[in-house]
Amino acid sequence: MIQIMDLPPGLTHYLVVGALLFVLGLVGFLARRNMILMFLNAELMIQGVALNFVAFARHRGNLEGQGFVLFLLAVAACEAAIALALILVLYRTQHSLDVSLWQNLREEGLEPILDEEPLPLSPLEEKSPSLTVAGPGPAQPEETSHV
């Protein structure tokens, strides 16, 4: 049998990198609450899939996998357009990108998830400078000796 790709990095190396990119995108999509970041994480998953396609195209010695990545790009562009339009509509009604504000769309009978812990204070928050109060000045200690 002819050994396919006997030198590293072989097909499996690229497949593992693609799988890890996909999994990281999945974790980000599940865990983040900013709608724009959720969509960026979906794009990260698409990158992992694209890497898989290109690796298989190289492995098989034809260009159909690479052609499919072009379709992936077209679908990603459509997805970005629709996603931005949806985010715009949602932002207009709630004035926040937080996806948890839309949890009233949840299934019947599920408890709402409430945020109990308070957010940390902004580190940029500073006391504004204040002037001393105008008026008669504070009493100065009088000198004891008048020479």
Binding site: P8, V17, L40, L70, A77, P120
Partner: protein, 262 residues
Amino acid sequence: MELFAAGQPGLFRFEYFFALAIGALGIYLLLPSPRGKASVAGSIATLGSLGWLCFLGLAPGGFTIETGLFHLFAALALVGAVFLVTQTNPARAALSFVMVVICVGGLMLLLAAPFLMAANMIVYAGAIVVTFLFVLMLAQQDGPSDADNRSREPGLACFTGLALSASLLLLLQRDQDNADRGLGQMKALNAPVAELRLKQEQTLRREANGRPTAPADNTTFLGQTLYTTLLLPVELAGALLLVATAGAILIAQRRPGTEVTP
């Protein structure tokens, strides 16, 4: 070919699982939380897991420029992905996604796909991320917000990621074990498939190191493939783009009565 060569065939190599588990723990620590994230411990765990995976991926074949570039691009892409998942500042996260795109472009170059490298970078880094950055900056709020400084079920999300990545690695490893055992066993199981594969492999022209040759003129051959084998999908993709444009305009229209003043 040597990625999973270290152990017994058919057995799951537990060092991969441990590396993945440490990485999942690191990302759990790094995900934003109102208590503040454990940046130092999380970074050490994530980087350690990544380094371990890179070390496991190093084959005994020795160092070549291709191996070095592959590990460089793969590690940078994964670091950028971790940044994208864990950054609290969304603008920085978008820029780290650009880093992922550039590194994936490098990997595509290593796989003899220069046209796709350029197209990927132009479409993602040039168009999609810039548009997202515009929207981000229009919608940006000052200080910590619910959207950026809280995570939704970080523990469950990391566990899902660990389960998925471990099962994917297990599948890849099984597949490789089967490939290593050669066509003989496969023939016993499924004769037509094995014959087809053998025929395919004999017709491929190969380079000195056993890889199939890729056409030197990538763009020309890609265009030929697109407009011969993949003609119908090209037309469908054009129709899809048209429908998406119309849909985006329709969705984003202002409708009276839906807006709420803050």
